[in-house]
Amino acid sequence: MKKIAIVAYNQSDCVSWAGATNEVELIMPVLRRVFDQVGLNNAQDVDFVCSGSCDYLQGAAFAFVAGVDALGAVPPIKESHVEMDAAWALYESILKIRMGHADSALIYGFGKSSPGELPIVLSQQLDPYYLAPQWVDSISLAAMQARLMLDQGLITERDMADVVARSRGNAKTNPHAQLSGDVSVEELLAQETYVSPLRKSDCPPVSDGASAVIICTVEKAREWGVPYAIISGIDHRIESHNLAMRDLTDSVSTRKAAEAAGVGAGSIDVAELYAPFSHQEIILTRTLGLTDKTLVNPSGGVLAGNLMMASGLSRIGEVFNRIASGEAQRGVAHATSGPCLQHNLVTVLESA
């Protein structure tokens, strides 16, 4: 199978409110920066474009149609869209390259979550007869998941605070982070609970922004003469929509995706995990079999800034950055969708 490389990544700042910025205005600067990284003019210089977004975030149908206005799609381009995190748009793009219909692709994701009440908006992703009409919010579902783990002795509140403290600390070197800084585990544990057992710090901030990635065949990357990382494996799996039918303390779908993506075939220097809640990072590190040798979420992860529909793509981009800069040889990126880690995508990246 064709070897595919990542050659560019950029993300906007994660901001709590993007203000007077429409989709086009949000996306365009990010695209400009990835094009500049490779020396491209616009989307005409890649063979395929795919994006990820969700209409309900800001409450307008066809958000992605406006996104096309940022591309320079005249003459017309090969373009598609998933109503999912853009990590899945990257997956679709990889299939396009593998089948020989493209040598390069631009992938972008964007979301303005600030206009709505995100945890309530996401309740409408649940079973439309039994759960959505009750308006069970996404934070409460995660809180129940965390309590299952606490009750079973699988984690402690201190473990959760550890994750948060490390995320905030790591985020100090991430200029796009929304939440960063030195905070001690004791300080975090001293905070009152928010949706018990979760504290506010265990939950991701609501963020607006966009991110973009360019991928291509290795031959193309060499032709462009830019640093790149190889995507050596990628796979994704979904689980039952009935939360109570799943073992919420584990992530079976992540494990399956990781096996198929070949995570275990070598050591892992860096992992970027889309864990919107602190306890979920622990589930994921265990499922992926990560040890102390792996640097987890050096960007701060999504606890430091969570761009809905782009954060999964950004995780892949963050691992790319560390491999391209020579800090890491091999890394794993994870993306998630749905309540309590229902749907998971795992990517393995390696240095060229």
């Binding site: 365009m28 695209l31 096309v68 206005d69």
Partner: protein
């Protein structure tokens, strides 16, 4: 299970979500001018075409548009339809005309209402002008222009629609 009452086969599920929408920079700038009774567009730094209403980019070039251009409120009919059903939340009564109109100085059309015309006589190339609401009603809204109405100017040849300067095209 109850035999007396019918099985439930359908339910009404109210889903009402609250949002706070913020207009983008380009539309906000445009609407701020409309509030003053002025139609503006934005010019693409690449191809030079003027977009009205502007979205912030030239969709063809994928470039940000910054240069604001003041347009005329006179326009040319690029095409139209006569509509026989009411628009939700719009008081206008059918049959009415919805037209693709290119304001002078802009290079592409927008959709707006036409009125004060004989529906059967509306035609492509026809010249129209905005009929604004009274000034005290002006808001950040395109419906500050109640509708466009025909004016006594010669038709524009089809090939020139979309290429009309703000003034002086008659010569």
């Amino acid at each position: 299970m109850s035999q007396e009452r019918e099985m439930i086969t359908g339910i009404d599920v109210p889903i009402y979500l609250q949002y706070k929408f913020t207009a983008g920079t380009a539309p906000a700038r445009f609407l701020s001018q409309v509030k003053k009774g002025v139609l503006t567009g934005q010019r693409c730094p690449g191809c030079g075409n003027v977009y009205c209403p502007p979205r912030g980019s030239c969709a063809a070039c994928g470039l940000p548009t910054e240069e604001e251009v003041v347009l005329s409120d006179k326009a040319t009919v690029q095409s139209f339809t006569i509509v026989a059903i009411p628009i939700p939340n719009n008081p206008i009564q059918p049959p009415y005309i919805i037209a693709n109109l290119v304001p002078d100085g802009s290079n592409l059309s927008f959709i707006h209402l036409m009125s004060e015309c004989v529906n059967e006589e509306v035609h492509i190339g026809q010249r129209v002008q905005a009929l604004w609401k009274s000034e005290e009603e002006w808001d950040y809204a395109m419906d500050n222009i109640r509708y466009f109405k025909p004016i006594d100017e010669a038709d524009v040849p089809v090939e020139r629609i979309g290429h009309m300067p703000v003034t002086g095209w008659e010569d």
